[in-house]
Amino acid sequence: AQTVTQSQPEMSVQEAETVTLSCTYDTSESDYYLFWYKQPPSRQMILVIRQEAYKQQNATENRFSVNFQKAAKSFSLKISDSQLGDAAMYFCAYLHGSSNTGKLIFGQGTTLQVKP
């Protein structure tokens, strides 16, 4: 069974600095997708970034980028120029590519604090 592990329960960063959140996963599949979701205090789950396993190029969305290491099964999220609004819980999630159901498997989450 696939598993997703986020080993950092909490992280903090100074405003305008860069922070990296870690995620590792375990799968025997070659076709899959990885996501980072943000959950602010409002509790809504917001998609931040997505990575297809077949793509070697790391995904980027404005200040958010990933470091996808397929062999190491690692998928970290880098937030550049951190802003106060980035403070939230961040979840890494896995989607099996050939799954017909679209079921997401989530990590435990990392709470990010941004200090002014």
């Binding site: 809504q44 789950m45 998609l47 017909n100 159901t101 079921k103 997401l104 989530f106």
Partner: protein, 114 residues
């Protein structure tokens, strides 16, 4: 921008009572989901629904739970006889297609069982 909407935002219910959580998925999406997040814990998959039937369910989704798409827009989760441990945030989500597409989540319904 299209979004998934859930009602109510907060529901308090007595233990043993039935509760229905409601969701309106994004209109052109074909797959619908319910996830649960007990306070401070990770988000857990409950069920996925496609073409008017359950396509996958987790061990959590026992006989006390059911889902329904009563019309072309709503998607509901019913808990027949609530337990204290059902207290959690319940998220509805939808995706265009099951495979290879990300899910878009609603804002969640906080269920408190007293």
């Amino acid at each position: 921008e299209p979004e998934v909407t859930q009602t109510p935002s907060h529901q308090v219910t007595q233990m043993g009572q039935e509760v229905i959580l409601r969701c309106v998925p994004i209109s052109n999406h074909l797959y619908f989901y319910w996830y649960r997040q007990i306070l401070g814990q990770k988000v857990e998959f409950l069920v996925s629904f496609y073409n008017n039937e359950i396509s996958e369910k987790s061990e959590i989704f026992d006989d006390q739970f059911s889902v329904e798409r009563p019309d072309g827009s709503n998607f509901t989760l019913k808990i027949r006889s609530t337990k204290l441990e059902d207290s959690a945030m319940y998220f509805c989500a939808s995706s265009v297609w099951g495979k290879r597409t990300e899910a878009f989540f609603g804002q969640g319904t906080r269920l408190t069982v007293v």
